[in-house]
């Protein structure tokens, strides 16, 4: 089989390329960010254009507590990754658990806010353009939080069973990147909807 090529080369030194997981997650984040941007654009475009019904100023209150919880969870998940890197698996489990708890508080807070808006303020997704763009944007974000919590719970599960070791640090880091993205989106949503939009 002398047809096959034999390629002459000088020996290459260290050939290190970026990690697949990080690059892959970065790509996913770009795609998801674009989806969010479109929903934010729709929200901003329709500000002030509702023909009737409640306005943001009427019914929205700053969700301070839930925001603090969610943003802190970025710190705790980072600590979980650092702990795993140093092989402190019990520490990692603890930080993951706190992260899940903080995320769950956020979701519950959002649920309470929606209950209030729908049943006491008369704002649903069908009410007007504000309702449409508000629920879709915040709901899309909440869905991403939910997915993140499910994945973090899975990681917590493996960590508690002792199956996670420092070899898996990069995988946990990739998951934490997703979680940081979800928090970053919340910063944008918080600013656009609750601060600038009211």
């Amino acid at each position: 089989m002398s047809d096959l090529a034999v390629i002459p080369h000088n020996s290459i030194g260290d050939w290190k390329l970026p990690s697949r997981g990080i690059v892959g997650m970065a790509c996913l984040i770009v795609a998801e960010a674009t989806i969010f941007i479109i929903f934010v654009v729709a929200y901003v475009f329709y500000e002030g254009k509702s023909l009737s019904g409640p306005t943001p100023h009427d019914v929205l209150e700053l969700p301070i507590v839930t925001t603090i919880c969610l943003l802190s969870s970025s710190i705790t998940v980072h600590l979980a990754v650092m702990a795993l890197h140093s092989s402190k698996v019990k520490s990692c489990s603890l930080w993951l658990a706190i992260t899940v708890l903080l995320g769950a508080i956020f979701l519950c807070g959002t649920g309470r806010e929606w209950y209030d808006l729908i049943y006491h303020e008369g704002l649903s997704i069908q009410t007007n353009l504000f309702g449409t763009t508000f629920y879709s944007l915040v709901g899309l974000h909440a869905t991403h939080v939910l997915v993140g919590l499910l994945l973090l719970s899975l990681a917590l599960f493996f960590s508690l069973r002792g199956q996670m070791t420092s070899k898996h640090t990069e995988r946990l880091e990739v998951l934490s990147l997703y979680w940081h993205f979800v928090d970053a989106v919340w910063v944008v949503v918080f600013l656009v909807v609750y601060v600038l939009g009211r």
Partner: protein
């Protein structure tokens, strides 16, 4: 000091498969495979099937339009045909066939064993495939097959508020939306795979500026996918919410905006056509140098032009909306951005021309298609520049001039280069050459049909014929032109059948190709034809853009000249 990868080690040591594998075993192998080559072939086979189906839909439309006031199909059926034809060709022919080639070729060209995420690769294929089946299942709903069922009839760009429940009751719009949401997930998955593979799995020595241009073009195309498909996904989620949860994104009665859908759609739709064309540029950049026997002229400029096209294409979308009433300044901005993109595009054409210049041109079938591509893409680009002139577009937008322009790009440039890619890489994929004789029949029949149809199609547009009409008035003077356009379709159909026959017959009877039938220079030609499942016995190490050129011309390697 130069080392050599020993020939003995490179030999394929795996035992041949035993004869007569069970059909079930073969099927199971293909359904569960995560091998990029098999997945690539499934993408390509799937796309070819839908090419025939959507081509048949086009044929039905051309029969209806050949004479005025024809009653070959009803308006309802015609409207479903043009919607399905467009949607199928973009999402279930164009995207899969290009992802298929990318899947097959990229790991081979960068010296890798597979894509970065093999299981994601399989998942992406199957979910896209399911999307196509869902779309075609729509023909079986509603009024039944001859009334074209519940197939979507809102046009491939599904403008609001035509897609609202009140104007499109029933499920035709829903089939469109859901099928494309699924296909979109698959596209993002494959694009993610291509980016991760290209960045993270190149063989030693293959720096980014040594990658084959095809890989660069797929890299930029995939990066575009993330910011292109997502706006469509978002808009489709909004549309579903409007239709089923009572939201008001595009509900003009509640103050919603029809123009907002257009913006979101075209923010997807324009970059999408660049996503479709960039791989075609990649094929051209591999095939033209080999058959001109010269390195590509201006590799760094080609890379820079590609990246520029990628970025600028995100800023031109409202040239599809010049007639919507954006205002003078709005229109002016998009005139400017659209004209600007012609500069890097022109650079590519000139570089291909300069590659041919001073070369030794071999007119093999792949090269014949590549040459047709050059002329036809030039024309398509020039009609694009014409349409960038907004007042010209105010007349010709939504007319048959536009239909002619974009088919010139999609068929005359992209499909032609896909044919070239088939003839060029078929030997690598199957180990056999396609018949040159049948290839030339394919080429000439298709060339004649293409030009009959799409050259003449520009004229009815100039004479005032809008698009998406199931018939037209007899006194407009459009009949002869429509007949000529329709006649060309028949040539193209026959040519495509010749091509399919060639692919099947050559699989059994084609000349054995060997690893490098074209005397080419990139890594895929250094392994067997077809490649073993692990691609390379030993991962190669490279030192230039054309490792096989260096091998064949040790006295004049590329490494001496790289810019």
């Amino acid at each position: 000091m130069a080392t050599q990868t020993s020939a003995a080690v490179v030999l394929d040591q795996t035992a041949k498969r035993g004869p007569g594998r069970q059909a079930f075993e073969i099927l199971h192998d293909w359904i569960t495979t995560v091998d990029h080559k098999k997945i690539g072939l499934m993408y390509i086979g799937y796309a070819l099937f839908f090419l025939i189906v959507a081509g048949f839909e086009a044929l039905l439309m051309r029969i209806q339009l050949a004479i005025p006031n024809n009653t070959f199909v009803s308006p309802q059926v015609f409207n479903r045909l043009f919607t399905m034809h467009g949607t199928t060709m973009v999402f279930f022919v164009g995207m899969p066939i290009l992802f298929g080639f990318g899947n097959y070729l990229i790991p081979l060209m960068i010296g890798a064993r597979d894509m970065a995420f093999p299981r994601l690769n399989a998942f992406s294929f199957w979910i896209s495939a399911f999307g196509g089946l869902l779309l075609y299942f729509s023909y079986l709903g509603g009024d039944g097959l001859y009334g074209a069922g519940s197939a979507p009839d809102v046009g491939w760009f599904a403008y609001a508020p035509l897609t609202a429940r009140v104007f499109s009751p029933g499920h035709s719009t829903d089939y469109w939306t859901l099928a494309l949401l699924l296909s979109g997930v698959g596209s993002i998955g494959t694009a993610l795979n291509i980016v991760a593979t290209t960045i993270c799995m190149r063989c030693p020595g293959m720096k980014l500026n040594r990658m084959p241009l095809l890989v660069w073009l797929y890299l930029v195309m995939s990066m575009m996918v993330f910011v292109t498909i997502s706006p469509l996904t978002a808009a489709q989620i909004m549309l579903m919410l409007d239709r089923y949860i009572g939201s008001h994104f595009f509900d003009t009665q509640a103050g919603g905006s029809a123009v907002l859908w257009m913006h979101f759609f075209w923010i997807f739709g324009h970059p999408e056509v660049y996503i479709l064309v960039l791989p075609a540029f990649g094929f051209a950049s591999e095939i033209i140098p080999v058959f001109s026997r010269k390195a590509i002229f201006g590799y760094p400029a080609m890379v820079a032009a590609t990246v520029a096209i990628g970025f600028i294409s995100l800023s031109v979308w409202a040239h599809h909306m010049f007639t919507v009433g954006l205002g003078a300044w709005g229109n002016t901005f998009f005139v400017f951005s659209t004209m600007t993109i012609s500069v890097p595009t022109g650079i590519k054409i000139f570089n291909w021309l300069a590659t041919i210049w001073g070369g030794k041109i071999h007119f093999t079938v792949p090269m014949m298609f590549a040459v047709a591509f050059l002329f036809q893409f030039l024309v398509a680009g020039l009609t694009g520049i014409m349409l960038a002139v907004a007042p010209f577009d105010w007349q010709l937008g939504s007319s048959y001039f536009i239909v002619a322009h974009f088919h010139y790009v999609l068929v005359g440039a992209i499909l032609i280069m896909i044919f070239a890619a088939f003839y060029y890489w078929y030997p690598k994929i199957t180990g056999r050459m396609l018949s040159e004789r049948l290839g030339k029949w394919h080429f000439w029949l298709f060339f004649i049909g293409f030009h009959l149809t799409f050259d003449f199609m520009h004229i009815p547009g100039i004479l005032g014929m809008p698009r998406r009409i199931y018939t037209y008035e007899a006194d407009r003077g459009w009949m002869i032109l429509n007949m000529i356009v329709s006649s060309g379709a028949i040539f193209q159909a026959v040519a495509t059948l010749v091509f399919v026959f060639n692919m099947i017959a050559s699989y059994f009877k084609g000349r054995i190709a060997g690893p490098d039938p074209w005397d080419a220079w990139t890594l895929e030609w250094s392994t067997q034809s077809p490649p073993p499942v692990y691609n390379f016995a030993v991962i190669p190490t490279v030192e230039s853009r054309r490792p096989l050129w260096d091998l064949k011309h040790p006295e004049d390697p590329d490494t001496n000249y790289e810019l």
